[in-house]
Amino acid sequence: MFSNTLKKITIWVFFILIILAVWAVIIAISGENPFSAFGYILEGSLGDTGYFLSTLNKMVPIMLTALAVAIPSWAGIWNIGGEGQLLLGGFGAALIGFSINLGSSFLNILFALIVSALFGLVWALWPGYLKIKLNVDEVVTTLMGNYIASYFVLFLINYPFRDHSSPMAQTKYIDSSFQIPYMFRGSQFSYTFFIALGVVFIFYFIIRKFKFGYEIRMTGSNPDFSKMSGIKTKKIKLVSMLMGGAVAGLAGGLLVLGMNHRMMQSFSPGFGFTGLLVCLLAFNNPILIVFISFIFAMLQTGSVNLELFSNVPAEISGLLQAVMVLFVSAFKIISMRKGGK
């Protein structure tokens, strides 16, 4: 048993070395010394408290959008709509943030986050419902849903809820009682990170230990059998889809309350799709999602530093991420074949 684990670790260390080697080649081609480049990335993501906190902060939307894919995927349904759900969730939080006040900051934040989750949930509702009622392909509905949500939010922040003083399409700032305060000077890090981490662990717990989680797992693994065992598979699928939407919406809410403090155009540089990649790389495992989100966040924050000190173009971060996804996918398969079926 022990030697098996050791073997697995050795194999993965070997794989990681291969990925690093390929990265090194790409960096070398773009005219930089790979070792110093890795140094810049490491320094820029973990080098001091500020960088480190920045990396953790980056993880918030990535972890949650990955979880938004993972939950439905356990029940055997695809949610490619994280992007749209995130945008609507962000808008929901902003809407609450500049229009009402419940008197206490705690209540305000709690309420805004609930609303953001609800907005995301609503945007997952119709693809989920069409899936279980008519078996409409959820890949298409959620994918198209992203475009629709994105244009809809653009309409809202361009016209009815526009901040008229800004040349950008964005809402007014949310009231300060809604803003989740930064925890350290000189960093945007706030307890949103712990909320996100908490949500991931709650779902880890639900999936592993709850009856409900058991039913989700069984439905995803074999819906026909689950039905035979008295599980209401359609309900399970729909609910898991809604949970996915709510989590993605929450990601948007946390970004608005904890970082941007308003809803704006180009709010998301494709968090939904990054989340999808992270989830697939993590094989739907919440613990791995945290781990891989950390690596993605490291790459993103580190690349700012890399750009600063070297002549490597910023696109390199995209290239490195893509290479990592390709190789990890391949390695996973290879190690599975080696280790049994």
Binding site: L134, Y147, Y151, I316, Q321, L326, S329
Partner: protein
């Protein structure tokens, strides 16, 4: 009024052509059992290399070939991972899309310093079909489009022929439905998928060339603008049936075109622009409701 119909009509055809070409390509791998999420990347890499080759050789045809070659290479990578290694198609598809997006900007910047748009008068475009019959209507409404538009329409028929009438088509249909039967018949699944993958690369390559050498004559970053995903939606809605794919592609082009027409003060542009996507969902619903009725009457 007549002018407006002309605008709607010609824009529809120009907007539909790349989507139709890409969806034909993706449908081949769809039949072979691979849902192609990488079409966006395939189109983009082809759009880039089409421009580069056309610029360097001064020949549009060589430009197309260059774009197709690049697209085929990436299509093969995709198939290798998804079919050969059985990796998740979404992971590989999105990874390749990111890779291509970064790579093309990276290359544009290296090759044409400090730019992520590349245009030049030296880029030779794909010609329109230049036949004059002397009849105004025919010359302007039927014979006035990109050569590739006619190729695309021809390819729809060729596609139906291949799928339903030829050996390869038979193998392809079996490949997606019951690969084991193919193996039992002494045919290699990998081989059938390889051919499908190469052809898919060619067709997505054509789609990319059409975009960067006809629709416009330039490369600009992420210029495919989600058309690869639209093509994927077309395939999934039509379930690979050629007659539906041509219909839905043109419907998509039409709503794209209509969304420009409808823009005025009464409708905010966002609502007009979301129209094609809303309509694709509606069309899909219609298809599913039709299916459901069919199931009920059987």
């Amino acid at each position: 009024m007549f002018d407006e119909i002309t605008t709607l009509y010609t824009t529809t055809i120009r907007m539909a052509t790349p989507i139709l070409l890409a969806s034909l390509g993706g449908a081949l791998t769809y039949y072979a059992g691979i849902v192609n999420v990488a079409m966006e990347g395939l189109m983009l890499i082809s759009a880039f290399f089409s421009v580069v080759f056309s610029f360097m050789t001064g020949n549009a045809f060589l430009g197309i070939l260059g774009g197709m070659a690049a697209s085929v290479i990436f299509s093969l990578i995709y198939t290798f991972f998804v079919s050969g290694l059985k990796a998740n198609n979404f992971a590989i598809g999105f990874a390749l899309n990111i890779l291509v997006s970064s790579l093309t900007i990276f290359l544009t910047r290296v090759m044409f310093v400090g730019q992520n748009v590349f245009n030049s008068p030296k880029i030779v475009a794909i010609p329109s079909l230049d036949i004059h019959t002397g009849i105004y209507f025919i010359d302007n409404y039927i014979l006035n489009f990109s050569v590739l538009t006619y190729v695309a329409i021809f390819l729809v028929f060729l596609f139906s022929f291949i799928i339903y009438k030829t050996t390869y088509g038979l193998h392809l249909r079996v490949c997606g439905e019951k690969p084991k039967a193919l193996v039992a018949g002494g045919i290699k699944v990998g081989y059938v998928q390889l051919i499908a993958s190469i052809l898919c690369g060619c067709l997505c390559g054509l789609a990319g060339s059409q975009l960067s050498l006809y629709n416009v004559r330039m490369f600009s970053r992420d210029m495919t603008g989600g058309r690869g995903f639209v093509a994927l939606a077309v395939i999934l809605i039509a379930r690979g049936k050629p007659k539906y794919m041509i219909l839905i592609s043109f419907l998509f082009g039409f709503f794209d075109s209509l969304s420009l027409k409808l823009q005025n003060q009464a409708i905010p542009p966002q609502f007009a622009l979301m129209l094609p996507y809303v309509m694709s969902v509606v069309v899909m619903l219609v298809f599913y409701l039709k299916d459901k009725k069919k199931l009920e009457t059987v």
